[in-house]
């Protein structure tokens, strides 16, 4: 007889609900902390949440009224499970790394990604690509604010900057010569895109020229040293942000493009990017999206390892950094209400020139800019206590991690996920989804007094936790289903899910944020083999 599970003493104490293992318990606690989340939603119901003080009063008022309507007369209309699924699956994408004869095998098996909009249009972006001239795969999530222009631009451009930063000198030369002589270029990236992930055609020439300038400089700077991934990531982030800023200052004769580059620069975006090459995993993060590693412990259970630090007011080091960069006189006004200058939630971001340029530069650009820009209250507004810009940087923090066989997957997600789910739950839900195994203690009666009815109740509950797994073919979709539909028992509640998804556009943002998720699955065999080689 195996060691009896320690379940039934609990049943005797009539606490069946607690039997669902400690994980379940944890989750409830987590939800409790967040139960106030919805109330907060009203308080910061600005259309662009990250600028709490900047909301347009009229609209805000209307929304508030709507919200009250909603609260007093809940909608009777529910979505059917297929309708729910079609909403959840609209943006899902999966990529499996092809294997050829076991040669050149990748430590990445593939990835699942998905996003669920709350803003209309969605302000999150995602990117995934394989580097063709170097080894490795790039994956990133980008959370835009004050519009989606900056997130869109970063999602299109950042990986090129990274790839170029990683290229050896000879390859850069070869590419430059090809451009010079009008020959076909070496491809740098193989994109893995969902049909909804668009690239802007209009700006592509402008973007190319900026990128070319970058590699020309790299060629001139040729240090002869091999490229360090960490350095390359930092350089690429900074360079792209710099280019965004410059393009806005210079402007473009084409009025459409001119307006575009200004929108990109005046909006903002966080970025969380992973570069995987063999056992080397680098995560470069700017802002409050997050990367998390799913680790399977020896007993089969799942745990989470953070691979990024949030750049926001909750991060003491980050607050410290900001304070160090500015005179002591500004100490009090730098961080107010957990926001940078009382306005911005992430402490690092692309774009957002309002927090980077001097007041003079801002005024000059806005005045010489197109009328649309001039009419916009937001762009004309100068943050209070704005004395020693820049207050904001796009420089990422890079964490390097050597993959181990027990590292099964990586989750990159925007804060829309992390504010509804604890990372430990994310690790468990994805882990159980990917392995198809639900780590539940087996039940044994082992001499305790249990009735058929009690056992039935217990089993039904355990089953409910498992059944939601089989609806999804995509780990990211599965995670979103849980993020939006989880009840206090950590199981998906269809009614709740249906309510959350049927919120009208203008209300959705109050109850949830845009969610974007990429789940990268690692090939433990390859990782193990690489590890041995290195030893």
């Amino acid at each position: 007889m195996p060691a009896p599970a320690h379940l039934f003493p609990l049943i005797r104490n009539c606490e069946i609900g607690r039997i669902c293992s400690t994980v379940c318990y944890c989750h409830r606690k987590h939800l409790c902390c967040f139960s106030s989340h919805f109330a907060h939603g009203h308080f910061r119901c600005a259309p662009q949440r990250k600028f709490a003080a900047l909301c347009r009063p009229k609209e805000n008022f209307n929304q508030f009224i709507h919200a009250r309507d909603y609260a007093s007369t809940p909608q009777r209309f529910y979505l059917t499970p297929p309708q729910v699924n079609s909403i959840l699956k609209a943006n899902e994408y999966s990529f499996k790394v092809p294997e050829f004869d076991g040669k050149n095998i990748s430590s990445v098996l593939g990835f699942d990604s998905n996003q669920l909009p709350a803003n209309a249009p969605i302000e999150d972006r995602r990117s995934a690509a394989t580097c063709l001239q170097t080894r490795g795969m790039l994956l990133g999530v980008f959370d835009g604010h004050a519009g989606c222009a900056c997130a869109q631009a970063v999602s299109e451009r950042l990986f090129y900057y990274i790839a170029v930063s990683l290229l050896p000198h000879e390859t850069l030369l070869e590419i430059e010569n090809a451009v010079e002589s009008g020959r076909a270029l070496l491809p740098i990236l193989q994109w893995h895109k969902h049909p909804n992930d668009y690239f802007s055609k209009e700006a592509s020439k402008l973007y190319f020229n900026s990128l070319r300038t970058y590699w020309q400089e790299l060629i001139d700077l040729n240090s002869g040293e091999t490229t360090d991934v960490k350095e390359a990531l930092i350089n690429a982030f900074k360079r792209l942000d710099n280019d965004i800023s410059l393009e806005a200052q210079v402007g473009d004769p084409n009025s459409f493009l001119n307006y575009l580059v200004l929108r990109v620069a005046f909006s903002g975006a966080t970025a969380c990017v992973a570069h995987v090459d063999g056992v080397d995993l680098h995560v470069a993060n700017t802002g409050d999206s997050r990367a998390m590693l799913g680790v399977q412990e020896e007993d089969g259970s799942w745990s989470a390892v953070n691979l990024s630090y949030d750049h926001n007011a909750q991060n003491e080091h980050e607050v410290e950094r900001v304070k160090m960069e500015h005179p002591k006189s500004e100490e009090k006004s730098l961080v107010k209400q957990d926001r940078l200058l009382g306005l911005l939630m992430p402490f690092r971001a692309f774009g957002d020139v309002k927090f980077k340029w001097s007041i003079e530069l801002q005024k000059r650009v806005v005045e010489s800019g197109p009328d649309q820009l001039n009419d916009n209250e937001y762009t004309k507004f100068i943050p209070p206590n704005y004395h020693t810009p820049p207050y904001l940087t796009a420089e990422p923090e890079v964490i390097h991690h050597k993959l181990r066989p027990q590292d099964k997957f990586l989750v990159l997600a925007t804060d829309g996920l992390w504010e509804t789910m604890h990372r430990q739950d994310v690790a468990r839900i994805v882990g159980e989804y990917l392995t198809g195994v639900h780590h539940q203690q087996p039940i044994a009666v082992g001499g305790y007094k249990v009735t058929l009815g009690q056992m039935h109740g217990l089993l039904t509950e355990r089953r409910a936790r498992i059944s939601s797994v089989f609806e999804d073919q995509n780990a990211a979709t599965h995670l979103i289903r849980h993020a939006v539909g989880n009840n206090e028992f950590g199981t998906v509640d269809h009614e709740r899910l249906s309510k959350m998804l049927s919120l009208p556009e203008e209300l959705a943002r109050m109850y949830r944020d845009d969610i974007t998720i990429i789940v990268v699955q690692f090939n433990s065999h390859v990782v193990g083999a690489c590890q041995n080689e290195e030893l």
């Binding site: 087996p442 044994a444 058929l452 039935h456 089993l459």
Partner: protein, 881 residues
């Protein structure tokens, strides 16, 4: 001495209440230290391996039949393994007739065993109630009830209200009806097994526990002994009753015997007694729609079931000791527990005692495995009880004992014969996948024409892909894929699950148009699965041997084809085949697909073993295409540039000729349907070429593909009997109107001749008859299948063996055997032509009787009406695809 020890052992067990409670702890620790008191004998006539219900039953019946020199070896203790853990339900409600007979016999045997041996077997007739939650389920119960009733087993279809009266705990709100079998019983399975062992040992059978057989010794294809961990025993017969270890034991010897069984975990629940303990006489409940059974057990209940997602185990083969340590899996049991509480909501407060995990052994087709190995003489098998070991154990043991003692059992056991499987159907992967389908099938609705979905595409014709691309739907026989029918492009059939019906199936019109094309133009059916042997010799040995083995005269001119039976001593059909004389000294023999193993073994054991005679299995060498229809002759003559008119190529002829570019195609003027046409036996490398040529050339004659359903409709309306369906080892040519295929005066003795001569003089006791259903509405009424009782003037006279809708007479046609029972004594009387012709007949389909017209000869002409010129229309000018 042996006997005494055993008896004391039995007494100890009966007196020990702990043991009777089936607790999970390793049992009988108190007696484990016992040394082996008796050494093994050096030799015996029979060695039986396995001391479960099956092994003890075989020993019991062998000793009853007078064989005394028998040793039974058990690796652990008697009645261990599955027997000890099983639920002990004897249920006679079985859809297959032979299984029904076995269960009925077992039930009667167990009832009197206590009296015979003095050992308490815990047998009590509680009766059983099978519940129906759907109308379809009720139909299937009614079908079983019909066959139980004609067997004389009391049984009735009852209403939900009556169910509630019989069993107070049952929730009846979702029931549409039920079947009540009052004679079904509960037994203590281990005690039954011990009682059988005791009776056997009184008859002289030696029983040795804790003795495991390592392998069986074989010389020249015969069993000579067994090697055990306690020494060797030489013997003439070995019986493998090793249950879930039968497979491994079969492979352990040098000469391997493949026994396709695989174990699955099986769970049932034991509870403490109810507040008001459940009466021990309360009927057993079977709720197939809920996939569960519920019986009373010591005032509480015992309830288990057959889940949709079984857990196969021991795929890699394991040590048997692990069976004790299998774990309970409550999450796996959850659906069955839900079904239990739905059926008996009052049990919510009942306290659980234990969830028992008791592995059961399953076979690839849900029927047990019985009989002699085709490769090793004297090696018998009885295993794979599909969790009905108690129900079948008694009867199966009896049939196997008869088989060993008399050479053949007293009933047709072909459906259970080991030889229905080839070695190719016993790969471990195949078995693992198949048993996962078989175990749920125990509770699934069994509808006509069901095909297994797992373990498919094992053997295929070279044309498989071509046919599949043209809409072929497949069934499987002996591992070979065969086309059922072709779904025309743009037409969709129902999903697999929805297509289950007892009524008119969705392919009705599709097959109808295939049949029409066979009648009016020409169709191609790929019949490559047929078993094909070549037998040749240097001299006349081949002819001489075959003349002895077959009832028809094979001394025909070269190029003739002969339909003949391969009969046993009683004149019954062991095989029904077509034999072509290729030249003076070699013959080409075509048999049904599932004859591959059986026929080979039969011939091997009877043909002289000298080197001048060779037999080769050429099944895999030829692709067979059947060209059926009046236009077949046109297609073939255009492709071969040879005259194929009836003058040049009469019926029942065989010629090698060229078709298209390909040479050496064996063309025979037979179609197995009674329609005009040809069988083409094509060396496989030409198969695709010949098929393409035929289809291209046939276009202008309206050629199309057809499948076996069309073939079946054609052959049944022509009153053609098929072996394995209509014909079996208990049917003689005299009984099915085939005297013309028997040449009693061919000047040579042949097997079965005496029996046939006797029959010719005395008359037959059953007669193959064709029935045309008169008042049957094809669209609205239940369809006949096979196994329906036949009534003559209101009295039961036999059962149908096959049926099909005849698109030509637009009626259902059933084939079956009519017997004549004396009205008073029930004695079987001779069946005369007058007896057949002078009766009013009815066929019972699930309790509903339909009038039927009996015929002893096929319709003289089944020509479709010739269309008049003015009835022609444009659509007649278009291809029939």
């Amino acid at each position: 001495m042996m006997f005494l020890r055993l008896l004391s052992d039995v007494r100890w067990r009966a007196a020990n209440p702990r043991w009777r409670r089936m607790t999970c702890s390793r049992r009988s620790t108190s007696s484990t230290a016992e040394p082996h008191p008796i050494s093994l004998p050096a030799q015996a006539q029979v060695v039986i391996c396995g001391g479960g219900i099956v092994g003890t039953s075989v020993a019991y019946h062998l000793s009853k039949l007078g064989w005394k020199d028998i040793v039974l070896l058990e690796q652990g203790r008697l009645a261990a393994g599955t027997t000890r853990f099983c639920a002990g339900i004897v249920s006679t409600a079985r859809p297959v007739s032979i299984e029904l007979k076995m269960a009925d016999y077992s039930n009667k045997l167990y009832q009197q065993l206590e009296q015979e041996t003095g050992i308490k077997t815990g047998t009590r007739s509680t009766g059983s109630i099978s519940l129906a939650q759907t109308q379809d389920r009720l139909i299937s119960l009614k079908r079983i009830a019909s066959s139980l009733n004609v067997m004389g087993i009391p049984c009735e279809i009852i209403t939900p209200k009556q169910v509630a009266q019989l069993h107070p705990l049952i929730n009846i709100h979702d029931l549409v009806g039920a079947m009540y079998v009052p004679g079904d019983a509960l037994v203590s399975s281990a005690d039954v097994s011990l009682a059988l062992a005791t009776a056997a040992s009184r008859n002289g059978v030696q029983i040795h526990e804790r003795t495991s057989v390592s392998h069986v010794l074989v010389q020249k294809g015969r069993v000579t002994g067994v090697e055990t961990d306690r020494g060797q025993i030489s013997c003439q017969y070995f019986v493998n009753c090793a249950g879930q270890w039968a497979y491994e034991l079969g492979l352990s010897g040098e000469e391997q015997v493949s026994i396709p069984v695989h174990a699955c975990e099986h769970f049932y629940l034991l509870t403490y007694p109810l507040k008001e303990p459940l009466a021990s006489s309360i009927p057993t409940i079977v709720d197939p729609d809920g996939r569960i059974y519920i019986r009373s057990w010591q005032g509480g209940i015992l309830s288990g079931g057959f889940e949709k997602n079984p857990k196969p185990l021991f795929t890699e083969g394991r040590n048997q000791l692990e069976i004790q340590n299998l774990q309970e899996d409550w999450d796996h049991f959850e659906p069955l527990l839900s079904a239990l509480l739905r059926r008996m909501p009052g049990l919510e407060a009942l306290q659980i005692m234990q969830l028992v995990n008791c592995p059961e052994t399953f076979t690839p087709d849900m029927r047990c495995i019985m009989g002699e190995s085709p490769t090793v003489q004297g090696y018998f098998v009885l295993a794979g009880m599909n969790s009905a070991g108690i129900s079948y154990g008694g009867g199966a043991g009896k049939y196997l004992a008869e088989w060993m003692v008399n050479g053949y059992p007293s009933e047709n056991v072909w459906p259970l014969d080991l030889k229905r499987f080839g070695t190719l159907q016993s790969s471990r992967t195949f078995l693992r996948h198949r048993v996962m389908e078989v175990m749920p099938l125990i509770c699934d609705l069994k509808v006509p024409r069901w095909d297994f979905q797992t373990g498919r595409q094992l053997r295929t014709s070279p044309l498989y892909d071509r046919l599949d691309a043209q809409g072929a739907r497949w069934m499987e026989k002996h591992g070979f894929e065969r086309v059922k029918y072709f779904v025309p492009p743009g037409k969709d059939l129902l999903d697999l699950d929805q297509s289950k019906t007892f009524y008119k199936p969705d392919w009705f019109d599709i097959v109808g148009s295939e049949v029409k094309c066979c009648k009016e133009a020409v169709c191609v059916i790929d019949m490559s699965s047929f078993t094909k042997f070549e037998i040749s010799s240097t001299g006349d040995q081949a002819l001489e041997s075959l003349q002895y083995l077959f009832s028809n005269d094979l001394d025909v001119p070269v190029g003739h084809v002969v339909h003949t039976g391969m009969l046993n001593e009683k004149g019954g059909y062991e095989n029904d085949c077509s034999i072509a004389r290729l030249n003076k000294r070699s013959f080409f023999m075509i048999s049904p697909t599932d004859q591959q193993v059986h026929c080979w073994a039969w011939l091997k054991n009877r043909l002289p073993s000298n080197s001048s005679l060779t037999m080769e299995d050429v099944t895999w060498k030829y692709t067979a295409l059947n060209l059926i229809g009046p236009r077949a002759v046109d297609v073939l003559s255009e492709l071969s540039y040879a005259p194929i008119t009836p003058e040049h190529f009469p019926s029942l002829f065989c010629k090698e000729m060229s078709v298209g570019y390909a040479n050496g195609i064996r063309v025979m003027s037979i179609t197995h349907t009674g329609e005009p046409g040809f069988m083409l036996y094509i060396p496989i490398e030409y198969a695709l070429h010949v098929y393409n040529e035929v289809m291209n050339m046939g276009q202008k004659y309206g050629i199309r593909n057809a499948g076996y359903y069309a073939l079946r409709s054609l052959r049944i309306e022509k009153f053609f009997a098929f072996w394995g369906q209509d014909l079996d080892a208990f049917t003689t040519p005299m009984e099915c109107g085939r005297e013309f295929q028997v040449k009693l005066e061919k000047g040579m003795e042949f097997i079965g001749q005496e029996a046939l001569l006797e029959q010719k003089q005395n008359g037959v006791y059953k007669r193959f008859t064709m029935f045309i259903l008169e008042d049957h509405d094809t669209d609205m009424d239940l369809w006949p299948w096979w196994g329906e009782p036949i009534f003559r003037n209101g009295r039961y006279v036999g059962k149908t063996t096959s049926s099909a809708y005849s698109y030509t007479v637009e009626r259902h046609v059933c084939l079956g055997f009519v017997q004549h029972f004396d009205e008073k004594t029930g004695e079987e009387l001779v069946v005369t032509t007058d007896f057949i012709n002078q009766g009013e007949y009815e066929i019972d389909i699930a309790g509903q009787r339909f009038q039927a017209k009996a015929k002893l000869y096929p319709f003289s002409s089944l020509f479709t009406h010739r269309r008049r010129k003015d009835e022609m229309e444009l659509s007649d000018l278009t291809g029939k695809r």
